[in-house]
Symmetry: C2
Subunit: 707 residues, 2 copies
């Protein structure tokens, strides 16, 4: 997390002026300019109430806005300037903005970093001037933003009614995809607060906008579509503040494949970063990561409607047995809890709808409810009264076009849902619009909300329920990162193990034998088979030079191994300084764990845990966590390993003391962090574990500036 905090640099006041302007200057305004026409059309349609000035070469009025030849001629210092002049005129126009005292600018003009080296140079010059002048810039090459709360649609993208204001904001790196997201949200009756397209992100990036929206009173859920996250530190801090405010961030970030990285680099010039580390960071920060546009919109919309769930369980009623089966199936795939209902609830359901067998959840209300819609009220109320249920969904089609008629059942369902006292919604089986016709029916029947289709909703419920639980588990979400002085710099296996021991990590006892006699004596004192390893600050890979011998027992064997090892290593590496031979007891049985920390270029030191040997190498079965990691978090990582079962006492071996192992893993993470910014990697491999015994058998530190 090593990027400048742009948002902090810009300051909340500047962003407030940018996104909540009371007056604006349209630089490039002219009745013949298509961009000017588009902006004006939006401003008029959506109904901006602020003061607007037209700026152009001749100072002519445009679209009825008073005209000026420069921003500095405008009789007030306006809140924000919108630049859409031709590329070659941008720098001069920007200098005028600076001179006029305007502190925020949106630059729509393209031809900058996205267009090649020349444009990148121009962008660098622009950014430099903006920083020097303290002007906050959105763009360039961006499609602007729309603030639906104050009806400011400052974008060339045509915005059409209905302008559904709401609690969901969007920050998008891709303008064209942002339009699609906004359209889908509005077609799904999901109201929006603010939509920001960040474009080239010369100054304001996704993280800075998220940071602003966390404090935006009109925003409760923040959707993000991004290919790259330039400023992970600001993003992480914003996510932590969002959690405190119970605001959610739902994120669609591409970047899982090599091709994606190439495509994204061509598109935005930015690195997509390591996807597995990003996944880990999202999990840690409570950021809900989705992988499709539909899941982005439906998850955000449903979450804005429900807020955090008080109970994780979901209760479902449907007239379609097929929908019940489908939901049961997909709930497992998405980690949604469909709890068994209480005996009282089951009795009430069966009283309302007789049938063979126990009342299940999802509950099939059957065709009886077609003839007797009142059954919906009895069934929904019974489900809503069950304490295990935190959300009630009624699968029933919401009419949306001329083909559909209102049906009496919707009135009953609407009345019942509205009285449940907990979040609820009507659910469509397939994804389809929730139109003006739908809104009319919903208003008439009191239906609180309608979402669909089942797949997107079940996926969303999985996210919402995990997020709600995560939110409750946060005791202090704003934990500061420990920044400790780099007082030590271990440069050999023994030094690294000693350092770990000093930080509370149990390490295997070992003694440095400088002579054959010392080696034999040490081995004898252990009274067990020993391992011997060459000790040299110059040799990282001991096995390759014959510097490791295992399972030695008896004076003769130990002595001979000492002599042979020294001779062999000296021949293989005549230049290496040799301190002697480390003698330690052999460990057998149990399991070998790999605990590695490596510095991710975007997120910083990241810890990986996996079972050693073929498990890591053949299955890539590891779990990641951006440091620091707490013992609880380390234990959760162990539980997420595919090979987790092996830790529970597999095939007669004793179950591993997971709490103890997790504490040691957390201590290794802290030890790595304490080594400071020059540490490139610290690896304990293996960390040996048998029952409640945990010991680091080997360790290696790698330094970024090492030769």
């Amino acid at each position: 997390m090593n990027h400048p905090n742009v948002a902090a640099a810009a300051g909340p006041a500047a962003l407030e002026r940018l996104f909540y302007p009371q007056s604006i200057a349209l630089v490039g305004a002219s009745e013949r300019s298509p961009w000017s026409q588009l902006l004006h059309a939006n401003i008029q349609r959506v109904g901006y109430a602020g003061r607007i000035y037209a700026v152009n070469k001749t100072g002519a009025a445009a679209h009825g806005y008073p005209g000026y030849r420069a921003c500095r001629e405008i009789p007030e210092a306006v809140d924000a300037a919108y630049l859409f002049v031709p590329l070659e005129a941008v720098l001069d126009a920007f200098d005028d903005v600076v001179e006029s005292g305007i502190q925020s600018a949106v630059i729509l003009t393209s031809g900058f970093a996205e267009a090649g080296p020349e444009g990148a140079a121009l962008q660098a010059e622009l950014t430099q001037r903006a920083r020097a002048a303290g002007v906050t810039v959105l763009g360039p090459n961006c499609l602007g933003y729309a603030n639906l709360a104050i009806r400011a649609a400052m974008t060339p993208i045509p915005i059409h009614p209905p302008f559904l204001p709401g609690k969901v904001a969007l920050v998008g790196q891709s303008g064209a995809t942002s339009i699609e997201i906004v359209d889908m949200a509005q077609d799904s009756n999901i109201g929006l607060s603010m939509c920001i397209a960040t474009g080239n992100e010369a100054m304001l990036d996704v993280a800075a906008c998220v940071d602003f929206l966390v404090d935006d009173d009109n925003t409760q859920v923040i959707m993000v579509f991004a290919e790259t996250l330039r400023d992970t530190a600001t993003f992480a801090a914003a996510a932590r503040r969002a959690a405190v405010k119970k605001k959610a961030i739902v994120m669609l970030k591409a970047g899982a494949t090599e091709l994606t990285a190439q495509v994204a680099a061509a598109h935005t010039g930015a690195l997509v970063g390591n996807d597995a580390v990003f996944d880990a960071a999202c999990r840690q920060l409570g950021v809900l990561r989705v992988h499709t546009l539909e899941n982005l919109v439906v998850t955000a919309g449903l979450l804005a409607h429900t807020g955090p769930l008080r109970a994780p369980g979901v209760g479902i009623v449907s007239i379609s047995g097929g929908a019940c089966t489908l939901i049961a199936d997909r709930a497992e795939a998405h980690g949604v809890s469909l709890p068994a209902l209480s005996p009282a609830t089951r009795a009430r359901l069966r009283e309302a709808v007789p049938g063979p067998g126990e009342a299940l959840n999802p509950f099939d209300i059957t065709g009886l409810a077609v003839r007797d819609p009142a059954l919906f009220e009895r069934v929904l109320t019974a489900l809503g009264d069950d304490p295990a249920i935190g959300f009630v969904g009624c699968v029933y089609s919401m009419p949306w076009n001329e083909k559909w008629q209102q049906v009496p059942a919707i009135e009953v369902i609407g009345r019942a849902l509205a009285q449940l006292g907990k979040p609820s919604a009507m659910l469509n089986q397939t994804l389809r619009p929730v139109s003006q016709k739908s809104r009319d029916i919903m208003a008439a029947c009191g239906v609180p909300a309608a979402f669909g289709g089942l797949e997107a909703v079940v996926g969303a419920l999985g996210h919402i329920s995990r997020w709600s639980a995560w939110l409750q588990a946060q005791t202090s979400v704003d934990q500061p990162l420990p920044v400790l002085p780099a007082d030590t710099r271990p440069d050999s296996e023994r030094a690294t193990l000693d350092y770990l021991a000093s930080r509370g990590v149990p390490v295997i006892p070992a003694r440095l034998a400088r002579t054959r006699g010392e080696a034999v004596d040490f081995a004898a004192s252990l009274g067990a088979p020993v391992a011997m390893k060459i000790a040299s600050p110059d040799i990282a890979h001991k096995t390759e030079v014959g510097g490791v011998r295992l399972d030695l027992q008896g004076d003769t064997a130990v002595g001979a191994a000492f002599d042979a090892m020294l001779a062999g290593v000296r021949q293989a590496r005549p230049d290496a300084r040799i301190d002697g031979v480390l003698v330690s007891p052999m460990r057998s049985g149990g399991l070998e764990i790999l605990v590695g920390t490596v510095r991710d270029p975007q997120w910083g030191l990241t810890l990986a845990v996996g079972l050693g040997g073929v498990w890591v190498e053949a299955l890539a079965d590891t779990q990641l966590h951006v440091l620091p990691v707490s013992p609880q978090e380390a234990k959760a990582m162990l539980g997420r390993l595919r090979a987790a079962k092996l830790l529970q006492g597999f095939r007669g071996s004793p179950p591993v003391d997971l709490d103890r192992l997790a504490r040691v893993i957390a201590a290794i993470g802290d030890a790595a962090l304490a080594l400071g910014g020059s540490l490139a990697a610290l690896e304990v491999n293996p960390l040996w574990v048998r029952g409640d015994e945990v010991e680091a058998l080997d360790a290696l530190a790698v330094w970024a500036d090492a030769p």
Copy 2:
């Protein structure tokens, strides 16, 4: 595959009359009956051209159809009867159908097996009468069907214009969910041939309907929504015939979880079956299994449009860099090949759209194409000319409601796509309707098709491309199942290994020692460490009674082990017949494979392959195949194991001869099949493999009728 073939029993002629009727009797018709009204409204709206008769107690005409008191009074033998009389009148009405000579009936009335034991008894009686009379029944408790090719909408579900006829059929077990699927297809501009709701499936089940549709000339792609598959044999045969005709089956089958099984049992009274075996069967049969309603519809619709792809590669153009990144990301998740373009193609793309770096696929046409839509034609044509590309998609929003305006680019795109000479479509980023407005624009601009959103389309393209390759690889899809006489019945480890050896499976050499002297001599003749196992037809689990000793070397050790084993086993199991002790050489190094066959109640003998030990037990890392399995198929199974990397020569061990191993696995499968229907399970565990050495070390046969 052990269910009666209902479709074959019913005969294609009866089904033809049922689904393509030239005359029908509406039994229960009355202008006051809501069901009658609904049926009549559909018939009128959609425009059925056949002859219609009303049958009711009084013989009154209804809706203008001539009235009769019974079917037998109708002056012609009509093709099909639709029964929607009250439950208590169904049997009498059905008897009348039988007497009248009508050979096909749709029974809409509910209250049968879905309602409890009493209804189930009534259904059994009805089915028995139908079978006796040779009448084919769809239902009961079903919502009928609609044949859009002949405009016969014989269902109480309101069907509304537009009635888009097309090549996609639907067979659905759940009426309510079938309606949603039909609605989504029509809202997505996906034309339908036939939609059948099977209801309680007293006679005609999903498999029988699929079987019929494989021969339906109006149908090219068959969508199935099912919770259970009652008749796997008919389904498998139909799927094989579909492949020969290059027709595809796209299947959404719920059933992955225990809750689903409960819910489905409550809904249809049928077992969902083992989901992993169903997955394997789909893969073998070329059935495209999807998991969401959206994927069902979009996959079927896109496939009906493209047919099998001649090249597996997909080429994508978009004006949205975000869409390019998203597609690249999801393509990997769904196994879609986005091949690198040829140098010639890349040159043409860069000539059309200059930009930094090489032209990639997906290709970002950038905002340049807004100002100059002609670029679309150049870019799409270049992509279409690339021999690696089998499908071209152009991501561009298709207007669908009043908010949208037609834009000049669509005309260019339509013209370009229509001339490519290979399958192509316009793609929406999000799932949204393709409306009448869309159709008008498409017709005016020549756009061949439009689908969306990206996630559903990329998922569909993955299925279509895999299916196309599978189709090409089928040399003889109609392979007969080998049915061999059960001439042998091995009942001990040795007998099973001997049987396997007789079927071409290499097994470890072993000799039966009856005395200590024989054991010592045999071991000495092997000149290597030996394994010794008790030989008894009465002992299946040898380890538990001390009947296994490993790694024995030298006369004394072998002799002592012989005596100790015999004594120990006799004490533990005084009743067991003991043939002696098997002596065989120890095998070390290499890998242990588990090859098990077990009889699935729905699909029959199914073979499982996995790496032995913790791999199978902790990771459940196995692959399944319904027998028979060919060596090529067995090799593909090995490749799909998560632990596949271990077979390729992991950590210095020699790479496994996969062809040889696959031949042995196939031989084990054939050996299991040859043992006939009483075999419950045949397991080789371990099958030892090192390089090109493969040997069954232990084997066990379990018989269904064993005590």
